[in-house]
């Protein structure tokens, strides 16, 4: 135990560099997946058949490809096509795209849960599609969507570790590098696990808060 504390003090600063990258990857891909997911969801519910089908196929293609393969593709294949991305850019882009499919399905479910009478009331005072979405549907859908959205945040935080496969030195890779050069596997990976857990707990509490609020109405 004493050895662990000693190792912890020694490795903590290096692992914190990893934490910084983990947070950057998580927030970056969270923002990207939210924006893309909203676009896919809007296309799905637009009532325009071509848009809706395009979005449905996109979502299925994205869902059908493992995140790690998507990352490899962006990082190793795109340069052959003349697009060179940094490891960090590829990680954010890959995770953002991969998660946009889940975000889209979540958003769509939230939008479709809104009572049809709400949409008719909006139409009856002359609102068009976009105004109805912005003023009536989306503000109400947010409450429904938030708890699953929080869960996606937690999953993204943990899945950001997949960025290590394309050399982003985030927390997991930073830990692996230290462990393989010092052989202190137990200390290092315990520390890494605790650091992920520390970051997850506020998010878990946030989800609980969202769930309570959504349940209250």
């Amino acid at each position: 135990m004493k050895g662990f504390w000693h190792d912890a003090v020694e490795f903590f600063p290096i692992l914190m560099n990893g934490v910084a990258l983990t947070i950057i990857v998580t927030i970056g891909s969270l923002l990207l997946s939210t924006v893309l997911g909203l676009i896919w969801a809007m296309m799905r519910v637009s009532g325009i058949k071509a848009l809706s089908m395009l979005s449905a196929s996109l979502i299925n293609v994205i869902r059908g490809i493992p995140i790690i393969v998507l990352l490899f593709y962006l990082y190793f294949v795109m340069p052959d096509l003349g697009v060179t991305l940094s490891a960090l850019q590829a990680a954010i882009l890959g995770l953002g795209i991969a998660y946009s499919a889940y975000q889209a399905e979540n958003f769509r479910a939230g939008i479709e849960a809104i009572d049809k009478g709400q949409i008719e009331a909006a139409q009856s005072i002359g609102m068009g599609w976009w105004l109805t979405m912005r003023r009536v549907v989306l503000p109400q859908a947010v409450r429904i969507v938030l708890p699953p959205y929080g869960n996606v945040m937690i999953m993204m935080l943990k899945d950001s570790s997949q960025a290590s496969t394309i050399t982003v030195a985030e927390l997991a890779l930073q830990g692996k590098l230290i462990a393989s050069s010092t052989f202190k596997n137990t200390s290092v990976f315990t520390l890494v696990a605790l650091m992920y857990l520390t970051m997850s707990i506020p998010l878990i509490l946030l989800v609980r808060h969202f769930e309570k609020r959504a349940g209250k109405k």
Binding site: Q118, E120, G126, K217
Partner: protein, 243 residues
């Protein structure tokens, strides 16, 4: 002001409107009565384009109702609607519900709209509820807010789709009272209702609809007191004397 000419409408195989021809003059109060499933509500929903229709023509002040044309916004801002289940926006306050359309659709000046909104809430007897949220109100109060919301658009006519059917019996009177006052003030109204007392006292004309056609129409008192068609007689007997 509102003209329907041989309007047909089907849901799949089921033809719900089989050639409706009717008109509503400016300042007139027309009640539509009939058994459930007869197509009464569908007529209202076609007039402001919530539903499309298959054949015939509907026009409002000479403008053809076509829910796929941009002009539908024009029609909807002139013909307001009050729904059976109120359909207030639960995430906005009562006052925000009332001013939503004038502010965001008609883009009228804010101060002016807010003042009008408060005046309308006072008119329906709910001035003190301006900052409450709809779920905190009783059904009768919510429906009066919905009427204020419809009035805030300064419409030329208001469509009422069974406005008291979802209310507890003791709350019906308040809503009908507000509607009666509107009628007295000369508002053009088309009301789908089961309230025969209201139809008799307030309506100028009554249409009896059954099976997607107008079976009988005429001045309210005459039609309700001396119905001519056997189906009208049968319907009224069952509504007025259910036992």
């Amino acid at each position: 002001m509102i003209e329907l000419n041989d309007v047909h409408k089907s849901f799949g195989q089921n033809e719900v409107l089989k050639g409706i021809t009717a008109s509503v003059q400016k300042g007139e109060v027309v009640c539509i009565i009939g058994p459930s499933g007869s197509g009464k509500s569908t007529i209202l929903r076609c007039i402001n384009g919530l539903e499309g229709y298959d054949r015939g023509e509907i026009s409002v002040e000479g403008l053809k109702v076509d829910r796929d044309a941009p002009s539908i916004v024009n029609i909807r801002t002139q013909v307001s609607m009050v729904f059976q289940r109120f359909n207030l926006f639960p995430h906005r306050t009562v006052l925000e519900n009332v001013v939503e359309g004038p502010l965001f659709v008609k883009k009228e000046p804010r101060a002016q709209v807010l003042e009008r909104g408060r005046a309308l809430l006072a008119q329906v007897g709910l001035a003190e509820k301006a900052d409450a949220h709809p779920p905190q109100l009783s059904g009768g109060q919510q429906q009066r807010v919905a009427i204020a919301r419809a009035l805030a658009m300064q419409p030329k006519a208001i469509l009422f789709d069974e406005p008291t059917s979802a209310l507890d019996p003791e709350l019906v009177g308040d809503v009908l009272g507000v509607m009666r006052k509107l009628a007295d003030d000369g508002m053009t109204m088309v009301v789908v209702t089961h309230e025969m007392g209201f139809a008799r006292d307030v309506a100028d004309r009554v249409l009896f609809i059954d099976g997607g056609v107008i079976v009988e129409q005429g001045p309210a008192k005459a039609l309700l007191n001396q119905p001519q068609h056997p189906r009208t007689q049968d319907f009224l007997r069952r509504v007025l004397h259910p036992l």
